[in-house]
Symmetry: C2
Subunit: 370 residues, 2 copies
């Protein structure tokens, strides 16, 4: 039984995972050391410093949670929500929906303010909604991976604070590809995932939490109903001179994240943003040249996640299958109401290179126009 033999180098142009940088692969297979080993503590400390820079924050508590991006979302809500809390989620795709579901399961009174999928959250409508009630939490997805829409997270932070609520921002797909300036945005808690623009395999959820959110965490009337993701204990594991054992950190994945952050900062954040944008433009040009259309209006398109309308009469599943089997290229399908209607083409992290874009366009051209 050896399915591992089936694996070939695949160009990952779906909604994640993205292509992994060679230095990250190298790091993943370095010798495992103990999770309380002083050398590992150094690696943890360096990861925190680099993450702060990548996330644009001075927050002391900036660390990767030991789970995938979805665990980051779970951690955000389970730490900050108390039963009965009024939570407003600004929804325009699958991941906004999921935020609402996660919060509801924790006993919050959740309202979803929903916008048409494929369009951004309208800040004026959102403002009205935010002023309507005494919310404890307002949550939004920065880059809606299901539709390729960029939400104006930077416009709502001050307002959320004005009404005394905490602001949770999902930066799973955006981090590393477009600026995620946590402090400037006014996000009280922001989380991401490693498998998108950080060019690392899935498995960790970078997360940062600010003073106001920590205050709420400290003043909870009940303990966090999730031992594994309880930030107050995880802080003791990641901070200070002497680390309190909590769980056994996923050592080799953290090597990988360390390498990925180093690669990103060596390139420079601005350079990475520019590269993502240029590759996006190259992709749009290529798609247009072969007659394909992007349903999201130009100002709201995400560079790293491009929704493309499936042309009438085309079997979208077959296109993805042939791309994977004959060209070693993966692209993604639509989710939820957009299933069958769009493809999702990712240009995340190490994937965002001219040769990948050109390879995909050429493959699509020969498949759609033969």
């Amino acid at each position: 039984m050896n399915g591992l033999q089936l694996i070939t180098k695949t160009t990952l142009m779906g909604p994640g995972p993205s292509c992994v940088h060679p230095k990250v692969y190298e790091a993943l297979s370095m010798p495992t050391i103990g999770h309380l080993d002083p050398r590992f503590i150094t690696i943890m400390d360096e990861i925190k410093v680099m993450l702060r820079e990548v996330m644009g924050t001075k927050n002391e508590i900036t660390l990767p949670m030991s789970g995938t991006g979805s665990a980051g979302m779970e951690a955000a809500f389970v730490n900050l929500v108390e039963p009965g809390d009024k939570v407003l989620v600004l929804v325009n795709g699958v991941f906004g929906k999921r935020m609402a579901e996660v919060a509801r399961r924790l006993g919050a009174e959740v309202e979803e303010c929903e916008f048409t999928w494929g369009t951004p959250v309208d800040p004026n409508v959102a403002e009205k909604k935010i002023r309507e009630k005494k919310w404890q939490i307002v949550a939004i997805v920065h880059a809606e991976t299901s539709t390729g829409v960029r939400n104006p997270v930077e416009k709502l932070g001050p307002l959320v604070h004005e009404v005394g609520a905490l602001y949770i921002v999902d930066a799973v797909t955006s981090l590393g590809g477009i600026p995620v300036e946590v402090d400037a945005i006014g996000a009280d808690l922001c989380y991401s995932g490693t498998q998108k623009c950080l060019s690392c395999p899935p498995g960790l959820a970078p997360l940062t939490i600010g003073e106001r959110a920590i205050e709420k965490l400290k003043n909870r009337s009940t303990k966090v109903p999730n031992w594994y993701l309880d930030l107050s204990m995880i802080i003791d594991y990641w901070q200070g001179a002497r680390r309190a054992y909590h769980h056994t950190a996923p050592i080799n994945m953290l090597y990988g994240l360390h390498a990925a952050l180093s690669v990103l900062l060596e390139e420079g954040l601005q350079n990475s943003y520019v590269r993502h944008l240029k590759m996006h433009e190259r992709l749009v040009q290529g798609l247009t040249s072969i007659g394909l259309e992007l349903p999201v209006a130009e100002p709201y398109r995400l560079p790293m996640l491009n929704a493309v309308t499936v042309p009438e009469g085309v079997d979208e599943g077959r296109v993805r299958k042939v791309l994977l089997e004959s060209y070693d290229i993966e692209i993604g399908a639509g989710l939820g109401p957009l299933e069958g209607k769009i493809w999702r083409i990712g240009l995340m992290g190490y994937t965002a290179q001219a040769e990948n874009v050109d390879k995909l366009i050429s493959a699509l051209q020969s498949m759609l126009h033969r």
Copy 2:
């Protein structure tokens, strides 16, 4: 900033992580592919088949959760506990205590039946306690990593079922090193971790759930208050011909687990158990020969986790520090009330080799008797 340069090959003889098999390192750095790629589905399916064999179960739902061993514990309780449930935890160490804490946070009425740390759970005392009340859940740790004690998990399964409760067994440290016969034990839910006797880095929690537990999961009056670990959704992600997207699986870690399970089954489970036992005997002989003592009574000692009494007048922290810095060997400290009183010497998975045992004994001898 490059703490990764500090890493050297270290002989991991602590309570975990253990030494990783070379084939696992190799697998970890194989090219990342998509988590819904048909080839990845094959790898997932093979992992399930191998896990069933390693865990000694026919349970259809046998899969790795996307988190560390502690996430396995969290998953066990969050899926099976409903608020107000009566939960009995048989405690004789840190991990039993943690089970109780996890269950309490979920709103269960928890009772701890505690036994002296360093001694096993007494089945007669436990039986009395189990018959005392209408418990919904009885939980126990198979191999108590904090003290090196093996608990008689096989003696209580039928009784737990007789009183109509579900039986949760923690096999984090035992799996792969001593028989964990889930079906024979009568465990309704059993979880483990990759970083012990499976010779894989930390990051995944193998878990199996039987029909009776699934019945309870299906009949919950409220949704599982944890979206990320909700088994009913994770089952749809890991079962069936068409997989429903839930979260993005930690692809490369799963490559590693696949390789680790292959290595273990190639050696043969029985051979692995015998190897662990032989290395344990070699270690005990070596420790005794240099005047060290094991506090746990012989019949209850775990082969893969050996508690050793710190001799009077010895600075236990210094010994660990010098072992690590001068000999590249890691051993573990005591936890909780045993801090400073014991060392914990792990012989887990790939660590359990004669040359490692001999290297440690020789190092300890020169340090303690100079």
